[in-house]
């Protein structure tokens, strides 16, 4: 079911991304490059060659930028001739040589050159007399005639500077400028720029609101969460060593992601571009980048360790599959299912800003910093970066929510706290809209809610992987929709990469065997009991361990008895209980069915129940007659209980082929048999004393064995007194009559429906009251009748 929902999410996310992105995304809406990276570099080499510099074979870094003012003007005043000469997207190509030389070329989205910057140390002599004028012609092309010269051969440090301007005839304040600097007759720096005054361009939308308030909220929540982390670390991690191991083993995922980002060249690309701007050398920027990444990973590690250590018991269930995985249990169906869920959910979460945009209107979505991606060396691998940078998920969902739900009893309070912090963090970190725009809050809230739902219904692994799904979906769709073939190919590659991983996880979730998450949970719960908590919490933790242990003692599923359908339910009144039901296969195809009730409730009763179960299990090997078995049990219970404890039990040795059962009733509630032929019920009440009440002689003298013959369709119901003595608010008991009426009404529907109907009615009857005593029900129906029943044998 979860898988289907996840699939629907992925489909909805991808479809909405595909349709909404072209209209609302900054990169796609305001102009996208029509060249891929290789093509841009080729054009840059050509352009540099025209200026007498040979940069083929140098090291390249490429980037893309969007000029928002230009984009606005192009949209609002399509008539502006100047604006039309440019594209909002500008491609940047940087060429580095090992000697320290650098050359920068910028061009429009279509590859038309816009600027040339020669930062070589030595520039040899040029050729042309009017190098500047020629450059103007090269840059401005047909529009060159529109330009007015504003500076001619002015001496500067760089060289000889000339400048021209072209003012828009219609719009005041909108100009195009050409600046050329030559040295020794060779162009060293030229640029063709678009410039608009503030009045002409108009203020950018969304800057009217007070910036201070928007900036404070995310900072405050980050500081708060940081404080919580530190506190949690020092208080709870002292006694527990395994969270560090857990986090350390888990770090391979984001470590691999960061490594992939490095290897793919993205990091170098970014580092080189930024270093050029700042004037520092490329290599030291790289080292700085590596250090920052390492610190990020360390931070992640600490968050994970603290979250795992502080997670209260009910949350541990969501971490169990991940915990198994880090212990090396790779054949882990649950982990694969969680991976699928997370990746698929991520696709939907990534679509959130694109839903918000049409509703809020006006500003375009700038999400996941798409523009530089367009020029990255191996864009397909950038999706992996999502694993290392999903901060909003780690902080809000994986750390804060489990921690809060352990501190505050009210579930909704923890949810609200997480939502508030998550909204603030997401809005700041992933601000898809211009800063301080309220749409960021809406996006933040929706995305945080999405991540939380993924955590709650998918598990910790799902939440962890959701950012990867998000990156893959958003970036993949964006790239795939670009006209440049190399870029759209990269987009499809990215979609294939992440989609392929998701589908592999989905397949694995069907093919892999189940790993024992319950045992893992039990182990984690046990480890939790070692923590220094209050007395009450420790007891509660231990009871939880005991509850799981006892749950494991009960049959995992109703038995498959040939010719019979069996349904069973067992609910302890407290964490642990004294009721027992068991169905044990015996030699010769027979089955030993038992419902027992140890006197009392709670831990004492549970311990005695274990003893009884043990004896039953060992007795099943020899299949003694029920009478003998009961006598033995009476001895054992009497010895163990020393008169203070007794157990009632109904024992049935069933011969499925003969549809016949031997029944002894040691003081237990008499079973009910519903006859299909007549539609009537009968109570089976052979004589018998409870186990542990009397000595052997008295017990056996008062124990009657009876034989129950079952016809096709007959239903046998065994239950404990928790069912009939169940009380509602008025102190009324459920009673035998009500049970009998229910059986008569529903037995024909089969034991499962019958059990369901009885449970349903019991719940309705009980209302707000808690379970008074352990509630056990076992119903079995003879499907086909005895082999040879056609002969008309077997009548009670």
């Amino acid at each position: 079911m979860r898988r289907v929902v996840a699939a629907a999410c992925a489909a909805a996310g991808l479809i909405s991304l595909w349709t909404l992105m072209p209209r609302h995304d900054v990169a796609l809406g305001e102009g996208q490059p029509e060249l891929g990276r290789e093509e841009a570099i080729r054009r840059a080499v050509e352009w540099a060659r025209e200026h007498g510099v040979e940069i083929a074979g140098w090291r390249f870094a490429t980037g893309a930028e969007i000029d928002p003012a230009l984009a606005r003007i192009r949209r609002q005043r399509p008539g502006s001739a100047v604006a039309r000469a440019f594209t909002p997207v500008r491609i940047r190509v940087l060429a580095f040589h090992s000697t320290g030389d650098a050359v920068e070329v910028t061009m429009t989205a279509t590859g038309r050159p816009l600027s040339f910057l020669d930062r070589r140390l030595a520039v040899s002599g040029g050729r042309a007399a009017d190098a500047a004028g020629e450059e103007l012609a090269r840059l401005a092309g047909a529009e060159a005639v529109q330009f007015q010269r504003t500076a001619e051969n002015v001496r500067t440090l760089e060289g000889s500077r000339s400048a021209w301007e072209w003012s828009d005839p219609v719009l005041k304040g909108v100009v195009a400028r050409v600046v050329v600097v030559t040295r020794n007759g060779r162009v060293v720096n030229s640029s063709y720029e678009f410039s608009a005054t503030r009045d002409a361009a108009g203020p950018p939308p969304g800057t009217g609101s007070p910036r201070a308030a928007w900036a404070v909220a995310p900072l405050a929540s980050l500081a708060g969460i940081g404080g919580l982390l530190v506190w949690t670390l020092f208080v709870t991690l002292q006694k527990r060593t395994d969270p560090f191991a857990f986090a350390a083993r888990f770090m391979w995922i984001p470590a691999a992601a960061t490594a992939a980002a490095f290897l793919s060249g993205n990091y170098q690309n970014d580092a080189l571009l930024r270093s050029f701007e700042e004037g520092v050398t490329g290599e030291s920027r790289l080292v700085l980048g590596v250090t920052v990444a390492a610190l990020q990973l360390l931070g992640l590690f600490l968050i994970l360790a603290a979250a795992y250590a502080a997670a209260p018991l009910p949350q541990l269930r969501r971490w169990a599959a991940a915990a198994l995985l880090v212990r090396g249990v790779w054949k882990n169906r649950e982990a694969a299912a969680q991976a699928w869920t997370g990746l698929a959910a991520g696709a939907l979460i990534g679509a959130v800003p694109y839903w918000v945009a049409p509703v809020i209107d006006t500003p375009r979505v700038r999400f996941l910093e798409g523009t530089n991606l367009l020029m990255a060396p191996v864009p397909a691998l950038e999706a992996l970066e999502g694993l290392a940078t999903g901060w909003e998920v780690y902080l809000a969902v994986l750390f804060l929510y489990p921690w809060l739900s352990g501190q505050w009893k009210r579930g909704w309070a923890a949810w609200l706290g997480m939502l508030a912090a998550g909204t603030a963090i997401t809005a700041a970190y992933r601000g898809a809209f211009p800063p301080a725009h309220p749409a960021n809050l809406a996006t933040g809230a929706l995305m945080t809610a999405g991540y939380w739902l993924t955590y709650r219904y998918g598990g910790m692994l799902a939440a962890w992987l959701a950012p990867l799904g998000m990156y893959g979906a958003v970036q993949g769709v964006r790239l795939a929709q670009l006209p440049a073939p190399s870029l759209s190919m990269a987009g499809w590659q990215m979609l294939a990469l992440v989609g392929g991983a998701a589908i592999a996880a989905l397949g694995a979730s069907f093919l892999l065997p189940e790993a024992d998450t319950r045992a893992m949970e039990a182990e984690m719960a046990e480890a939790a009991t070692a923590l220094p908590r209050s007395q009450r919490e420790r007891l509660r933790a231990e009871l939880e361990v005991a509850r799981r242990a006892q749950e494991d003692l009960l049959p995992a599923a109703p038995p498959q008895i040939e010719g019979f359908e069996v349904a069973a339910a067992c609910h302890p009144a407290r964490e642990v209980g004294g009721d027992l039901y068991d169905c044990l296969p015996c030699p010769h195809g027979r089955w030993l069915l038992c419902v027992a009730d140890v006197s009392g409730k709670g831990l004492g009763a549970a311990l005695h129940m274990t003893l009884v179960k043990g004896m039953l299990a060992s007795a099943a090997h020899h299949a003694p007659p029920p009478r003998t078995l009961a006598a033995r049990l009476n001895q054992a219970v009497g010895d163990a209980g020393r008169g203070r404890m007794f157990t009632t039990m109904s024992l049935l040795m069933l011969d499925p082929r003969a549809c016949r059962a031997e029944h002894v009733r040691a003081g237990h509630n008499p079973p009910l048999v519903w006859r299909a032929a007549t539609g009537e019920c009968e109570w089976r009440k052979p004589r018998g004393i409870g186990l542990g009440l009397a000595g052997a002689a008295t017990f056996e003298a008062n124990l009657e064995t009876e034989t129950i013959e079952l016809q096709a369709g007959d239903t046998l119901v065994m239950y404990s007194d928790g069912v009939t003595e169940d009380m509602n608010e008025e102190g009324e008991q459920f009673g035998e009559e009500r049970l009998k009426a229910l059986v008569q009404a529903h037995a024909a529907e089969g034991p499962h429906r019958l059990a369901g109907a009885i449970m349903e009615e019991a719940r309705r009857f009980r209302g707000q009251e808690d379970l008074h005593d352990d509630w056990t029900l076992l119903a079995l129906r003879c499907s086909n009748g005895a082999a040879g029943a056609q002969d008309g044998q077997g009548e009670v």
Partner: protein, 105 residues
Amino acid sequence: MLGLRGYLDAHTAPRFEAAVEEELRAGRPRLVADCSQLDYISSAGLGVFMTFIDEARAAGGDIKLAAIQPKVYQIFDVLGFPALFDIQPTVEGAVARFDAGDGEG
């Protein structure tokens, strides 16, 4: 004669237990439990009977149950108590049983 009234469960059983113990210690092992006012009995209550029955019988006496209400009798009956205890419909009948010299159920 011990009169039981109301609910005999884990809360009230200790008082009953103390009363029986007192009687036995005082050398009065012949006890009749008047159950006409008893509305409910739980396993804790049953346990009190079980605890002292052997002691009482060994001392030559008995604990007899009298005038049990039908609903409560059903609980005893399902458990098989009638085979273990002497249950009489009236208090007088139970007392008479002692006089008749019947010490066992």
